[in-house]
Symmetry: D2
Subunit: 357 residues, 4 copies
Amino acid sequence: MSRARGRLGVAVVGAGYWGPNLIRNFRASEDWDLVAVCDLDTERAQRVLGERSGVAVTDSLAEVLAREDVDAVAIATPARTHHDIAARALRAGKHVVVEKPLADSGDHGRAMVDFAAEQGLVLMADHTYCYTPAVIKIRELIESGQLGEILFIDSVRINLGLVQPDVDVFWDLAPHDLSILDYILPGGLRPVGVSAQGADPLGAGKSCVGYLMMPLEGGAMAHVHVNWLSPTKIRQMVIGGSQRTLVWDDLNPQQRLSVYDRGVDLVQQSVDQVDRRAATVSYRLGDTWAPALPETEAIGGMVAEFASSIRTGRPSRTDGRAGLRVLSVLEAAGRSLAAQGVLVDAGASAVDRQAVS
Amino acid sequence: MSRARGRLGVAVVGAGYWGPNLIRNFRASEDWDLVAVCDLDTERAQRVLGERSGVAVTDSLAEVLAREDVDAVAIATPARTHHDIAARALRAGKHVVVEKPLADSGDHGRAMVDFAAEQGLVLMADHTYCYTPAVIKIRELIESGQLGEILFIDSVRINLGLVQPDVDVFWDLAPHDLSILDYILPGGLRPVGVSAQGADPLGAGKSCVGYLMMPLEGGAMAHVHVNWLSPTKIRQMVIGGSQRTLVWDDLNPQQRLSVYDRGVDLVQQSVDQVDRRAATVSYRLGDTWAPALPETEAIGGMVAEFASSIRTGRPSRTDGRAGLRVLSVLEAAGRSLAAQGVLVDAGASAVDRQAVS
Amino acid sequence: MSRARGRLGVAVVGAGYWGPNLIRNFRASEDWDLVAVCDLDTERAQRVLGERSGVAVTDSLAEVLAREDVDAVAIATPARTHHDIAARALRAGKHVVVEKPLADSGDHGRAMVDFAAEQGLVLMADHTYCYTPAVIKIRELIESGQLGEILFIDSVRINLGLVQPDVDVFWDLAPHDLSILDYILPGGLRPVGVSAQGADPLGAGKSCVGYLMMPLEGGAMAHVHVNWLSPTKIRQMVIGGSQRTLVWDDLNPQQRLSVYDRGVDLVQQSVDQVDRRAATVSYRLGDTWAPALPETEAIGGMVAEFASSIRTGRPSRTDGRAGLRVLSVLEAAGRSLAAQGVLVDAGASAVDRQAVS
Amino acid sequence: MSRARGRLGVAVVGAGYWGPNLIRNFRASEDWDLVAVCDLDTERAQRVLGERSGVAVTDSLAEVLAREDVDAVAIATPARTHHDIAARALRAGKHVVVEKPLADSGDHGRAMVDFAAEQGLVLMADHTYCYTPAVIKIRELIESGQLGEILFIDSVRINLGLVQPDVDVFWDLAPHDLSILDYILPGGLRPVGVSAQGADPLGAGKSCVGYLMMPLEGGAMAHVHVNWLSPTKIRQMVIGGSQRTLVWDDLNPQQRLSVYDRGVDLVQQSVDQVDRRAATVSYRLGDTWAPALPETEAIGGMVAEFASSIRTGRPSRTDGRAGLRVLSVLEAAGRSLAAQGVLVDAGASAVDRQAVS
């Protein structure tokens, strides 16, 4: 690529809820030159850019894709449009990053991943949380073995949210939790099953409260609670390990991560009587440690990773296959919901099969 | 009862974990005269009472039950012994209050309830939380209609707990949540089904992490998360209503209850297009209100209720049937766990059938 | 003014710490057209504006002041330069808003206020906190009498701050607290005296920890704690009133304001014995109420107020005289510090004398 | 002492607010035998002890002091009575522990200390906080040098308190803070001066809001805020050190102590220009560490220390001289208050002079 040392040109498609964040970060990045913004509502796009801006504004995707100074496209439109826009961009030879979730179905996602591979272009999921200092540190702590074996993960993401017209609370909020799990678990998110329960107490025609249970290999359990109807906002993940346990409270900027040197150990002994089990459990009540975290904006890290992936040709940290693993669990959750919460296969093998094809 | 105007005599059976709390409160009560404490470990019992105490200490239940000055017995022993001790006490003509859970099985619980009814004696479950100012206020708020219709209830009760030798985390911790739900829901806890998922990542031979989902009538959902392995302690319940939503944070003594005048309304309109649904949802973002709560000790309220129930003959606020409804859900949870989380019948009808027999 | 219906043109002077916030908000405002940014470091200014921006960048103040499309100047440079830059701008016929504190001395501040009055131009202090929804609500609550008479105000503003080269912690942080007090107290901040204590435990040559005590009329007391050396960040103000007490915790976005219907009343009785005083005190332990606050950015409100003041000719909510009252207390604090904390006159009369001259 | 291996006999004088806590802890202690409780209101005393108690109840101090099985007396009466009761007890050959403050004046306190020394008996102040795990850990951290040199200490102790009939808020609440400072500072609390400001906005005839500033040797500053009129309860101490800073939040049982490896360093360089000072400051933004603390009751530790001091003859951790240092600061605060907050001598030398006489 001729501009490997210079800036890469990017166009943002969609200037609604998420687009302005992408616009701000591409603008502030040393890697990127924001060339154009595309939205059906060009007035809104112009308002986001401000007066006296030299960035092109258009409602024509074709026009954007025809520009030679556009190397990459960032898609921030409703999920049901991701596949078509991405396909057109890839066909035009542009690298693509897509707001979560990658697509509105596993089939669409797989088609996108396969097509990008054929074209030799980067396809990346904007799993923003994976670029936060907190999540990066959590991954390090797990990888280094400081938490020991993972025993359970409990994630809560609730607030008074916008009831979405075309997706339920699982498809709206759970991609955050699932993409984080995919990033921090060694080997990615590959549950042995998925069970989901949802509630629609308003009669909105879709789940507004949702619970996802995912048994993991080795007896561990991951659980996700997503909820649009809670007046109080909670963003908390507890990761229990055999050595230490970590609590991530994303709404406490003064101490987002706490690592507790506390836990329960099961000492294996020969037990010759009933009721002697309790004697074989021991507790650690050690100190708590809160690692210092830099205050950097996650989207800035994401756009840097996108540039780096394009320049070096290596898969990005949250590539299309990561996006597929998230879709795979979402689709399994839908099947479980339809069957009253029964544990269903997560279809991880399907992800892998496609990934190698 | 000849002593209706004087004090009632009580004996506490079991001076281990919970017994000392009962001892302290019966001692401090104007209604009661603590006559005796019974524990196999009489030294421990004496230590709890202190030197220079005139309360009788014994390791013989028979001796306690033979005393004429003992009107009632409070049982604070392991759940598997509740049925036998209660049966002996009832046979001896004593009123009985039992630490939660009422019994170690629904059959045992039903036998206790039936036998107390036959004998015309009070059988009460020590569902302590139902006597806290917070829970009493929650019940009032629901009853008065201030929350509107209940949409969802999410209860979290996690901490580094003692892994129990003979029960799993559901039987150890969930009785608290279930008894609270039974008390605050109009008509008591009668879920249309129960689904449970548990994890035993330590290989302890029982669930140490547990999730209970209970669809309620009208599309609402109650969910309980209990966990022995969390280094951080959370005791929080969110009750979403169609008018207001309530958050109970029991570890925040300065503001245990918060009532949010916020929520989502679904406005029913004629909708002639796809995707018009979002337009029919409206949000309220009103003030928050935290009712003042008295600082009274719950067990004190419980022992007063026990006395009042004995004196007036009316069922206590947490009578044996409330205990049975809790057992019924615990047993359903066990059946669901054994069937990989499938939704099972909660057996509420069985509770009622017994209750009228 | 010919452009009363159109946008006003503004130039921002200083693109360092605070300037970028002004730039962002003037850019996003419907009232303003950001015409130019002036900074000695033009590269920094350009970086803040981003590539493809049409806003002029210059290191020449003269150039900015010569532009006809510049109606107003926003000054975000070190305090010691405020007077000279403001004087030049006013001389050029531009309205002026100045970052807090208004000036580096009372004399400089008074000269600025007087000169703006002579020229018939707006001079405004950017007391940003006075445009936050929380402070606006606090003023309303005090004005409406809901808190009753003010009994005490305690403000804490501590964090690990940048030790400034040319000012101490009072001049760096206390302008926030003082400008808030000036805005919420009926009649503005006019203490009957000022006492200050500071500590310089690092030997930095200036106070890094500071305490300000300000007796108010009627026996009330205002106290401010500012501190650059605290690793933990606190931004909290308690306002005790005879009817209700308010707590503002600015770091708790979920409940910034809490109004407690609690307090102490002194019942005046004929007291004929020593030690009967306690009997005449009564306590209220009522509910807590947290008003909903909009999530609007304060600087946006400030730039709108600046435009409105220019267009209507009325004094702005935080005009030059408000800035003077803050300077007056800061100077009194310096005199008290030099005299080991003795209570000194706050010089409010001096403020008023100048204001009418 | 003949009973050195057996239990010591103790009588509690005063069964009002604090007495019941002492009664409970002496009763539960292995070191002590609670022999008698003395209160003018014998019914109240009996109610605290409960029915069926064998502990003597009396309203006669003479009767208590005449008992041979009483080795020591614990005084929990109003401060103005401490001196007389203690003097009678010491005259009767009893060891004495006194609720804080030690006495109602420095003269009274010194007389008590001197008389106890003459009699060869233990005189101890019940500075309860000095027996909490948190304060013990703070002392260790300072002593070990982990915090470095102390730069500042800021203590806040505010809540809706009982307006006392005979003392102001300084004498009611500040003894807690001062006794803690005395315990944790190497060499005890010996400020180079004391400045106090108080407010009486209710017209109660005494300060209900108080601020104490105490410059310490080496440029450090200790500050205490006590307040009876705050509807919100804060119990927080920040201890800034040159190496690390510690925050003690006593109302956060899950993390009472946080040690921040953050701070500001002043690098001494040759500075040849004005305004180069800023360049010589550096910041550390390291991790946070929260030491695990045992959950033990402070009064239990205090009664054990009392017994140990009696048995070994060594001064107790909070002996009479510690109590005197606290009184010395309280009296200095009174002098400063009377002189509008001027810095006055703390009279530490007077304490020492008495102490060696």
